[in-house]
Structures are given as structure tokens and as C-alpha cells.
Amino acid sequence: MILQCGILFAFLAAGELIVAVTGIPVPSSIIGMLLLTAALKTRVVRISWVDRISDFLVRNLGFFFVPAGVGLMRCLGVIKGELLPIMIATIASTFAIIAVTGWTHQYARRFTSGISRHFSNPIKH
């Protein structure tokens, strides 16, 4: 478990390093995640070296958001004043994202698989 933790933090540290050196406006954790995926793909890191800590953290992801959510109490004033616009806009927009992302993916997939079928079976068409 110590090794697993160490590897995970090494990737986070690498993410921090990249952000510090390049100054790109992307969180170090996202960079670390992409680096970890790349390292697993290229077999620099074996999945058995990180799977236990990762499965634990990923399964309990929600818990780590609790303190940020408690931060709500800092802006209760603003929220109370504009509760309705905040709630309705958030709910409507969440629905919009889900519908638009899902539809676009389905249609784009049908479109691209249509093209590849067309090219792989030229005689049939």
C-alpha cells in the first residue's frame, strides 16, 4: 500500500512540476491522471502497482468533496438572495449537457461507423 501511495503521489508531483514549468492553466491532478494512464499503457507502471489505492480512492470519491460542499456556508447570503436562478439554471444546464453530449455521441458514432463500413465493404455499396 505504501508503494501504491508513493506511485500515485509521484504522478501528482509530476503533474505539479509540469504545471509549474509550463504555466498551463490545467490542474496538476488532471495532468497526473493523464500521465498515469500513459505510463500504464506503455507498461512503465504495472496495473498491480496502483490498483488497490486507486480503487479505494475512486470508490470513495464523493467523501472527499464533503469539506468543499460545507464551504457553502461561506456564501449562504448570496445563495439565499438568488436561490431560484441558481437552482433552476443548474438543473436545466445539467439536463442540457447530458442530452447534448449523449445525442452528439450517438449520431457521430452512427456517422463514423457508417463511413468505415462503407470503406471496408466497397462491393456491397
Binding site: P25, S28, A89, A99, T101, H105
Partner: protein, 231 residues
């Protein structure tokens, strides 16, 4: 009273409240009693009741907050496990993310404006679909209130995790990949943990959704907001 503001006490309190909330959902079987939501509400009530302000709570809370970053790095593992199917459909995935990112920022800004929200609140809401660190940075850069953004981001995630699957069904999206992807796009890491509970495949595409939408929103949100005439 000294004990109540001790950071170890506050950390223990957070764990206890969360475990209690989990038990409450498990025992009652009511999906609406989301443990994250109930924990946040209970903790705010306890802190307000005891007269403890957020900064004092934060001295303990930041040790839990700290694990958010390694947890996001850990999402690289499920992502790796689905790499083959991701490679097979790079184009549809990117198209869907681009559409979802634009739809998210535009819809939240327009609806909030229509309902008479102030400019500060509109800017705080714009990046609400992406994970906290990215969202707070965008909010800061465009003139929003970062702490409000953080709170709305968490609420969006909880809502997306609870209602996301029903919304997918309502929009008649059937593919597993599209389902996971849209939940991650709309509800970042909190939605992803809900998707992960259903299956690792949903979870992996959800983490792809949160990553791509995070990157795209960081790049595009300021641009979209200025196109809409907000900054």
C-alpha cells in the same frame, strides 16, 4: 468548547457524519438521501449550531480536501482499462465533448440571466459542470465568486449523480459509452463516483467525460463568455 474547534475532532466528526449518512441511505433504501448531500447539510447545521465558522472547520477539512487531487490522479486507472474502446471512437467522443461543453456554459449563463441573476453569480455558475479546481480558476478569472462556484460545483455533481441516469433515459440515449460520458461531462467526479457504482465501464467513460470537459471548459469558457457579451 475548546474540543469542538480541534482539527482532529472536526475530521472525526466529518467521518462519523458521512458514515452515518451512508447508513441512513442503506437502511432506508431512499436514493434521495444522498450521503454527500446529507453530510454537507448536517455538518453545516452542526457548525452553525455550535458557532464554528468555516475557516475553523477548514483547518480539519483541508486534510480531507487534500485527497481530492490524488483521487483524480487515481481515475487514470479506470481510464486505462477502457483505453481500447476510447481509441476506437476518438472522433465521436471529441465531437460529443465539444457539444456538451458549449451547451453547458451557454445554457447555464442564459437561464441564470433570464431569471435575473446578478453578473457575479452568472460568472460563478458558468464553469459549474467541471471539477472544482478548474471551475474555481475559471470563476476567478472571469469575475465570479470562487467559493460560490465550489459550492455550486459540488451540488451539481450530487444532482447529476442522483438524477443523471434518469436524464439519460429521458433523452433516449441508449449506448453505455454515451451514458457514462454525458454523466462525467455534466457532473464531474461526483457523478463519476455514482457511475462507478453501476459499473466500471460507465465510470471509465465518465472520467473521460470529466477530463475532456475540464480541459475544454478551461480553454473555451472565457471565449464563450466574451462571445455572449459577458466579459
Amino acid at each position: 468548547m475548546e474540543l469542538l474547534t480541534n482539527k482532529y475532532f472536526l475530521i472525526a466528526l466529518t467521518f462519523c457524519v458521512y458514515v452515518g449518512s451512508q447508513q441512513l441511505q442503506r437502511r432506508t433504501g431512499i436514493k434521495l438521501l444522498n450521503p454527500i448531500l446529507i453530510s454537507i447539510a448536517l455538518l453545516i447545521c452542526i457548525l452553525c449550531g455550535a458557532g464554528i465558522d468555516y475557516d475553523t472547520y477548514s483547518e480539519g477539512g483541508e486534510y480531507i480536501d487534500f485527497w481530492l487531487k490524488p483521487a483524480v490522479v487515481a481515475l487514470g486507472v479506470p481510464l486505462y482499462r477502457q483505453l481500447e474502446s476510447i481509441k476506437k471512437q476518438m472522433l465521436p467522443l471529441l465531437a460529443a465533448e465539444l457539444a456538451g461543453c458549449v451547451a453547458g456554459v451557454v445554457s447555464v449563463v442564459l437561464v441564470a440571466d433570464l431569471l435575473g441573476a446578478s453578473r457575479e453569480v452568472i460568472m460563478s455558475l458558468a464553469p459549474k459542470a467541471v471539477t472544482t479546481p478548474i471551475a474555481m480558476e475559471i470563476s476567478e478569472a472571469t469575475g465570479g465568486i470562487p467559493s460560490l462556484t465550489a459550492a455550486v460545483v459540488v451540488c451539481t455533481g450530487i444532482f447529476g449523480g442522483m438524477a443523471g441516469f434518469r436524464m439519460v433515459k429521458m433523452s433516449r440515449v441508449r449506448s453505455q459509452i454515451a451514458t457514462g460520458l454525458s454523466i462525467g461531462t455534466a457532473a464531474h467526479a461526483v457523478g463519476t463516483s455514482a457511475a462507478m457504482e453501476r459499473s466500471e465501464r460507465y465510470g471509465a467513460f465518465s472520467s473521460l467525460g470529466l477530463t475532456l470537459n475540464g480541459l475544454l471548459t478551461a480553454l473555451l469558457a472565457p471565449f464563450i463568455l466574451s462571445l455572449l457579451g459577458y466579459c
